[in-house]
Symmetry: C2
């Protein structure tokens, strides 16, 4: 019932966007502005890293239930910038508020880029001034906003969907995300900080917060490129209710649509992981608890040994079992089942705690399954009924090159 | 007062060793046997991975307070081998007991190598038979034992030391460790499993167990090559008391000597990490708790972003702060101090939560410090008095190559 359509963050009713060149970066677009016609219910997810960038600190402190505009700059993360960084993030909000005639508490702020450098507030002020004049709807505005926040990515992480709710209202969801992409040689970012903005014209109440967290936990929070969490990660959902209709908080159709959008974004981030050549999907079934299932997914997806084995199509499935053992999750080794899938192949591996095949030749099937652009690892822990799925990518020479390059 | 000397595991009084070719590997030595003249107090540390190899399961279940012999095979890890693997590990003990006329409970067993394959017990039995006839003291026996367990390493991780205890007794400590070295292309190991055997002729009582744990926590447990913990890791201390003298349990001189030996082994394992070109030492000071200090050390040392930055001498110190933030440890961001050391250089970085330098040029000093074979990262958390130190290595193209290579 969820229908993906060509669109972006201005596809839902009442959202306008702009992207401009402020001068923080040498040449490309580096400042994006989004505005809703009316105050939108705001639901945010922030990095749980305890070293938080200034805009994240400001957004968390204000925790505003509604937002009318969001400003995002790239080229400078405003992270590790002490008190001056906090003041600068506040000034960005104030400048937008002045331009758009809003209360500054109605303005969200995000940054991504170089860390440990103070923002040039003269340039930012100029950028905000220009962007506020260029706010518009349509695919070109989507594209300029996207470019302003996602220039380092190699894949555009944008999508839109529509769904008819239980009460008959047609609502739209638009999403844009940047992150984990290839880092341009002159940049010095902590890592591909993930910034996401999701717009919808559905109506949501503050109590949707809990559902939003669940949706994030099953999508964005199950993506890992290298296990290192940025100081700036922010994921923001804005619901302005302009599609009319009743509150969609408890409508399973809306939830399903939003989950589908977020899963799509999450997978794309993994595919575009730094240096990645393959998408790895890890599915854990029959875990004792949901938490256990997620722990195993993350341990497997973050293991450098698993990641490099998949890069090289090395049928070293023992590494998956090692990661399972290191996860701390409960499992029944006598009945654990491990399957590796790739392309048309589906290779069962374990039985009774030992590999099914003892011959070198049989291992060739595992190698062939791994030799695909998408490799799935399916683990059955045989102790419960909970499951989880997550996405990551292989560890490649390019990952090392990108992150080792002298980058100042 | 601790004096390092040329020696190995047969340097302490009453220990004999042998290394033979059993045929599990195609050509090189693959089975080592160690024997003490009298039963030795035994203290072990095992992997905390919940997928444990058969020999680890057997050793943990028996938990014998004394051991008289230890048998180690390489080429096959006897891991992921189910019930048959357990029987095979028990048979190895029984075979040694038969040859040396011991109770099987007096025999320790370890394995390292291929996983998911059953041992060829015919070959193992033959190897044990031969090794038991070749037990001897001296540097050649040390060398053959070492070769039998450490053929994949690129550096020999062996050392010996002597120390005069408070009661005037001169005692000797010998240690051998394998692990984390370069994996030969035809091998398929979980990762460089760490096996260590430490011998001493000092006298120790069962209550030394706690001290042994503390020494391991400050040495072997602070080494990380890739954060992935093997199914087979085992570290065994044997104390046969043949130097006479009183019990060394509480002698600070003995503890200091043993800690020095274990630290030396730990550093060497990090230097010989897969594909490593640099040793990274992380020192955390003024943490709220010892646990916090260790958590930060491990988070920094395991971060692929930190590791690849150091490989490329990329002065991306923000990544260290990101790892600190992800560690979950308490710190005072306003007073955290970060220093990067390398060669003769010592570069202070942070002040008041922001970098001291704001100019690109100043960052060059960080790059120069990183451009050394040993790089130290010193973090002062400014919230307590506890500290910890740990060792790791950089993430390189060779790490990816070694672990991605098709290896069956």
């Amino acid at each position: 019932m969820v229908e993906f359509i060509d669109g972006g963050i201005t596809t839902p009713e009442g959202f306008k966007a702009a992207g401009v060149h402020s001068g923080v970066k040498y040449r490309s677009l580096d400042l994006g502005l989004l505005r809703s016609e009316v105050p939108a219910s705001a639901f945010a997810g922030f990095t749980s890293n305890n070293v938080k960038a200034a805009p994240v600190q400001v957004m968390m402190r204000e925790n505003s239930p509604t937002l009318t505009a969001v400003v995002i700059n790239s080229g400078n993360a405003n992270a590790l910038t002490g008190r001056r960084g906090i003041e600068d993030a506040m000034t960005m909000k104030q400048d937008v508020a002045n331009e758009l005639n809003l209360d500054p508490v109605q303005v969200g702020v995000m940054s991504t880029g170089l860390i440990g450098r103070f923002l040039d507030m003269h340039k930012i002020k100029y950028g905000i001034h220009r962007a506020s004049r260029e706010l518009d709807i349509g695919r070109e505005s989507d594209a300029r906003f996207a470019e302003a926040i996602m220039t380092t990515d190699t894949i555009k992480k944008e999508c839109a969907a529509r769904v008819r709710l239980s009460d008959g209202t047609m609502v739209y969801i638009g999403a844009i995300s940047k992150g984990s992409g290839m880092i341009a040689p002159h940049m010095k970012v902590l890592h591909g900080t993930t910034l996401s903005v999701v717009t919808t014209d559905a109506k949501l109440s503050p109590k949707f917060r809990e559902t939003w967290q669940e949706i994030l936990d099953d999508s964005m929070n199950m993506v890992s490129v290298d296990g290192d969490q940025s100081t700036n990660d922010t994921c923001l959902l804005l619901a302005n209710g302009m599609a009319k209709g009743s509150c969609a908080d408890d409508d399973p159709l809306f939830r399903e649509a939003l989950q589908a959008v977020m899963n799509k974004i999450a997978r794309t981030i993994a595919i575009d992981g730094e240096g990645a050549t393959k998408l790895i999907e890890v599915q854990v079934n029959n875990a004792a608890t949901k938490e256990d299932a997620r722990k195993v997914v993350k341990q497997v997806i973050n293991s450098p040994l698993v990641k490099s084995a998949i890069f090289g199509s090395d049928p070293n499935y023992g590494r998956v079992m090692m990661a399972l053992g290191n996860s701390g999750a409960e499992f029944n080794i006598e009945e654990v089942r491990l399957i590796i899938k790739g392309g048309e192949m589906e290779v069962p591996i374990l039985e009774g705690g030992a590999p099914i095949f003892q011959e070198e030749r049989a291992v060739e099937a595992v190698r062939m399954a791994m030799d695909n652009k998408e490799v799935a690892i399916v683990l059955d822990l045989a102790v419960g009924t909970e499951s989880a799925v997550g996405w990551g990518c292989d560890l490649t020479y390019d990952y090392v090159r990108i992150n080792a390059e002298y980058s100042t």
